[in-house]
Each structure stands twice: as C-alpha cells, then as structure tokens.
Symmetry: C2
Subunit: 148 residues, 2 copies
DNA sequence: CTTGACCCTAGAGTTGACTCCAACGTTTAT
DNA sequence: ATAAACGTTGGAGTCAACTCTAGGGTCAAG
C-alpha cells in the first residue's frame, strides 16, 4: 500500500495536490521519489507527515514553525535546555487552548439548546453563509453551507 | 472598571488597536461610544466579545462566520431547523478537533520527554525561530522567540 | 506651551497560505 | 489512436487578516 501519487496523497490527507506541491516548494515536505516519467511517488510516512502538519496548523502554528517541529521530531533536536523549556511552555499553552475550545463548545451547545425552537421552519427567508471549518476547498457536496 | 480606550482593550484582549479598528470596519464589533474628542470608549462587554472572536478564530472559523455566530448569539437566532443541524454538526467537529489537539499535545510532550537530554547546553550554536502561537504581535518581552 | 504618548481617518501595503494558469508530457480507457 | 484524466513546471493571482502610512487632533506632564 505504498507509492501514492500526489493527488492520492492529497485525498488521503484531506488537502489538494497543489497544496502538497506547495509544501514541497517551501521545504515542509521532502522531495519524494519519482517515477520514470517524473511523477511524485509518496510512501505512508509522507501521509503521517502531512497529517501532523494539518494537526499543528489546526492548533494555530504557522507552516514555518511546523517545519521546525518536524525537523526536531526526526532529527533528535539540538539539545539546548532553552528549547525544552519552549516546548514545555507550548504544551502548557496547548492545555489552555483545549480549555478554551471546551468553552467554545459549551457556548455553541448552549446556543443550539436554547435557541432552536422552530424545528424545520420552512417558511423562512434567511441568508448568509457559515463555516467551512474543516476545509474551504473541501466543497464536495455540502456546497458553501449557508446558515439560515 | 468600564471605559477602555482602544489600545487598553487591545491589550486586555491580547491583540492590537489596529485590529480592533479593523474589526469595527468589517462589522465584527459594534461602533462603541466616543469621548468628546472622538476617542473610542469600550465597556466590558466589548472585551467579552473580542475574546469570543479570538476563541472562535482559534477553532478555525473565519471572521465572517464569527460575525454570524455573534449575531445569532445575541439576536435569538433565525429559527430554521437547518441552522440547528449545522451548529450541531459543528459541535461534533469540535469534539474531533479536541481529540486532534490532544494527539498533538501528546506528540509534543513525547518530543520533549525523549529528546531533551543536554539540559542547558550552552555550548551550542543554533538558529531558527519558532512559534508565536498565542499571538504574533504579542511581542512584549519574549522577542520573536527563537527555537534552539 | 511644548514634548511625547496617545487618538482619529482613509487608504495602501504586507503576509501567509494557498490556488490557478499555460504549456506541456504521460497513462488509461474505448 | 485519440480523448480524458492524470502528471510536470514556473510563475502569477487571490484571499483573509491584518499592519502600516500619512496627515492630522488630544491630553497629561514638566
């Protein structure tokens, strides 16, 4: 189950082929093997790497920062104590983040519970758009999901 | 403890005055009261609102979407069942998000635990920059925090 | 009564992260 | 064997979200 082409990998990782090529350009992904014709061929480890990027991105890191994390992850890390402290601070922040997310979840839950009354009120004119959330390009079916 | 000027509010909310004025321009914040001289004067509710924005942003929502959430939050919501379903899907996604964050936390924790050996190794030449994470502009003291 | 730190506006510029394009080669299905 | 559906490149374009600039007003301290 090795040897994914660029758009296969993109699909599995929930992104686009363009994005993967872009990541390669900026050095976030290593140049993969190539087929005789010059097609990119990725292994499973690339998938894991892209997923890590996506997760870290979700957390609010910029791609440049993620690149460094990745380097550290597989390199062993340049071992100054300062770095350790930095990463530890990061973990603490992560905890704060998660608490904040829990708050947001509660807020939204509350909105839903208290405000939804008119179940399936078809007789309403509403407009606006909300929330692509997982991905903007991932438009496969859900349209650009309006709210109201 | 009311009546914050724009940069006071910015400081408390962990952002910049420019950003707050920008939010006002795009309709994310209501136009606040003004002093006789035309200075913006905000109350505590503005702080709460900005914090909500930051939280929601952290979760990956675009400002336009957040604006809608905010409107719904204080308006009572236009009551189509579709909306409820949308928000409920959002909560489910939030749960997935939180799980992903927990994974990331674990990854980083692991990195820290396994890789940090040379506690305070001063004899090292390293370079690079990592992670502003909480805010990019919040440069008060931590410089642009290098890693290594 | 001036200096420095704040505030205002409209509008231009920057940054990060894609996203698309043209012009071309390859693979697969009919 | 030809079209559809992929792949390649370099470079340009787009979008959100700031961020900065110019050119001005305000206000507390000395």
């Amino acid at each position: 189950m090795e040897q994914l082409t660029v758009s296969k990998l993109a699909e599995r990782a929930g992104t686009s082929a363009d994005t993967l090529r872009y990541y390669e350009r900026i050095g976030l992904l290593p140049a993969p093997q190539r087929s005789p014709a010059g097609y990119r061929l990725y292994g499973e480890e690339a998938l894991e790497r892209v997923r890590f990027v996506k997760r870290a991105q979700r957390f609010g890191l910029r791609l440049a920062d993620i690149g460094e994390l990745l380097t550290i992850r597989e390199r062993g890390l340049c071992p100054c104590g300062r770095t350790r402290r930095l990463l530890e601070a990061r973990v603490a922040e992560l905890d704060a983040e998660m608490a904040a997310l829990a708050r947001l979840r509660h807020d939204i839950r509350h909105m839903v519970d208290t405000l939804s009354v008119d179940e399936d009120g078809d007789g309403w004119q509403c407009g606006g758009s909300l929330v692509r959330l997982t991905e903007p390009p991932h438009d496969g079916g859900g349209r650009h999901s309006d709210l109201c």
